[in-house]
Amino acid sequence: MRNRILGIAGLMIRQAVRSRFVICLFVLMLSLLVGFALTIKGDGTAAGRLQMLLSYAMGAVGVVLGTATLWLACGSVSSEIENRRLHLVLVKPIRRMDLWIGKWLGIVSVAMLMLAVAGFFLAIAGQVALRRTVPDSADGRAVRHQVLMSRYLAESERVKGGAGKARWELDCPAIVSPAPAVATLRYRFVSPLRDLPPVRTHWEVLGPDGTCRFEADGLANMDGVNRLDIPVDSLQAGERISLTFRIRRGEEEALHYVTFHPNHPVELLIPTGGFGGNLVRALLIVFCRVALLAALGVTVGTVFTFPVAVFVSTSMIVATLFTQFFVFSTAPGRPSDHHHHHGAPETPAWIEKVGEDLANGMQFAVVPVLHYRVRGRLAEGVAIPWSEVYEAAGFLIFVYGGVLCALACETLRRREIALPV
């Protein structure tokens, strides 16, 4: 069985190479990556430019590779049915599932190769950016410690803090990297007016036993994101720590209280590893998404002719992307406008019920597909854990891919391949 699948995969790869698909995709991706590297503008800093490059390049690679893979996958079975090459294959002792897996495997091998090229390019770009900065400059430190880094994003949980104090608790990750020597605390206030004077702050990091491990006074801006460096030696792997905050009152200060932003919780970015590992994990998640597109393309290609398959699969992707809006606007519990009116409701209850059930169903089916987003996190140096990679592989490749494979096998079994086209 393995030999049959590998044989079909090999034929698929050979077909992709012969049709110049591989070389065209390679040239397109490389020109995109080089184009971004040469033209992209950041916020005027080396770290900003590198972040932009990583974010845009990952996005572009995902889109181009996804589109190309879908195209190739749609044609893999449908064109073979059309030009009757598949007849020669199906008369041999090959199961429908072997055919599907072989085709899919061939396509994702090409995608994997392209992702490896993109990964290599981005790794080089990171090193070039690092070498271009002065190591001890603020820019150099930002590139090294904020971008080319994997940092665990610990979201805090607000607890009762006592008079004049705010308090949060958060869990440290299982591994805390000793380099760089600092973790970064991020927090935002709600400001009623722009450009208010900064407030004097006092932050403390408390261990699980309540002992103070680190404290710092500083100034915090009322607008934008505030950052505070916390030494990593005050954090220990796997423990639950507390953060406390209070305003230091000076004579001249008018502000005696601040409100923390409700939509942007206090976060602590704790270094856990290097950029290379994070890049590999990000690319693997992109690969899982591309693999799902390949599965979709091959399956739809078993039902329709090539142009129709492309149209149907593209429509399905567009519908999936728009589902978010639909689910959001009809989600249960979201107050709709007519609830504010008195008297009879404008929409019959059964329509609402069907709408809600539909929204729930779509949410259940589609939202996991859109859940795995990596480019922003990679660019910000936020860790993408292996658990997320396994989860993405499980969901996108095995669950969704498995369902699509079953559908395709059933279609191929029922379909009369030899009918005139």
Partner: protein, 362 residues
């Protein structure tokens, strides 16, 4: 027998060539017609390939793409993710290079809205500079004949750098002063004779500050002596450029910018820093005759009663400020001009009564 492709190939090719020739013949008259009907929209001759591509190939779809990018910029800004804004502003403006409002909005957004969200002064200053660069280095290049773009650029100098609305205005003034002093000399007064002797200096000023030395000299002769370390000097320069392109009908906003900036420079345009690095702003009294000139030029050019109000306010204010500073000679000059141009019962009672009335009111 020849195949269909071979039989039809030559006539199709010949038709294509013929159509190309016809299109080429019509091209020049069409361009001329467009230039006459829509001045300022002539095709860019030295635009980068990206701009040529987007403006020609995308056609009407440019607007849709620009809208999508603009929506993304707004969303990111709301989320507090400012990193992409320079890139998005660059793309949006390149998609709509001849729409001055687009340039003005993005420059203002970066210099005003984004900058104040930065907790560190250096970061703030970088965003203010991004706004200036967007207009000065690119916006003007694509809209050289629109006075509004010069006014928008001048406004950042006059208000953001020159005014005190931003909590860190003193920091901006210091940064700008150091930047100019490095290029024009510690006094901020350029020695125009050196420009012809030192090769490359003229180009350096143009590339790094966007200033044309020839025009600087003219502006200095009309409104100076200007200290170019003071942001308002640049506001005057850019407003002057705006008036140049506006032609004989003028552009009130630019004229207003000139007299306002001149008045500000006269009242507090002499900047220095004490030993603790605190900004000290004093009156630059040499500029008084030039301020009169700026106001009176504007009054003679436009028919707007608000301009008289502005001049009255300036003359009355300057009379009192000079009197407070013990400069009775200049105070008298301002008062005399006020009485000569806008006599009232208050001024008819004489200089001493005018000052006394103000002190009493205070």
């Amino acid at each position: 027998m020849k195949s269909w492709r071979k039989r039809t190939g030559i006539p199709i090719l010949a038709t294509a060539v013929l159509l190309l020739v016809v299109a080429g013949v019509f091209h020049a008259p069409l361009l001329e017609l467009r230039q006459r009907a829509l001045p300022g929209t002539e095709a860019l001759t030295d635009a980068p390939p990206v701009v040529v591509f987007t403006t020609v190939v995308l056609g009407g779809f440019r607007g849709v793409i620009a809208d999508a990018l603009w929506l993304r910029a707004s969303y990111l800004q709301e989320e507090g993710r400012y990193l992409e804004l320079v890139q998005l502003a660059d793309w949006v403006t390149k998609l709509e290079p001849h729409t001055t409002d687009v340039w003005a909005f993005h420059a203002w957004n970066m210099a005003y809205n984004v900058s104040v969200m930065m907790p560190v002064a250096e970061d703030r200053w970088r965003w203010v500079q991004q706004g200036i660069r967007l207009l000065r280095d690119e916006g003007i290049r694509y809209n050289p004949t629109d006075p509004r773009i010069y006014h928008e650029l001048g406004w950042i100098f006059q208000h953001k750098l020159g005014g005190d609305s931003d909590r860190l205005h003193a920091y901006y003034k210091k940064q700008w002063s150091d930047y100019v002093a490095e290029r024009l000399g510690a006094s901020g007064r350029p020695n125009y004779g050196i420009f012809s002797m030192e090769p490359g200096l003229r180009e350096r000023i143009r590339d790094e500050m966007g200033l044309d030395v020839g025009r600087m000299q003219i502006v200095d002769a009309i409104y100076g002596p200007l200290d170019w370390r003071v942001p308002q000097s640049h506001a005057v320069y850019w407003a002057y450029r705006g008036l140049e392109v506006a032609g004989p009908e003028g552009f009130l906003s630019c004229s207003r910018m000139i007299y306002q900036s001149m008045a500000e420079m006269f009242l507090w345009g002499k900047m220095s820093w004490d030993s603790q690095g605190e900004l000290i702003m004093e009156a630059d009294k040499r500029l008084l005759p030039r301020v009169f000139r700026a106001y009176e030029e504007t009054l003679s050019r436009y028919d707007d009663p608000a301009l008289d109000e502005a001049y009255i306010n300036f003359l009355a204010g300057a009379t009192l400020v000079m009197a407070q500073q013990g400069d009775t000679r200049r105070s008298h000059r301002c008062f005399d001009r006020l009485h000569a141009r806008y006599p009232t019962d208050r001024t008819a009672q004489g200089y001493d009564a005018f000052i006394a009335a103000h002190k009493e009111k205070k």
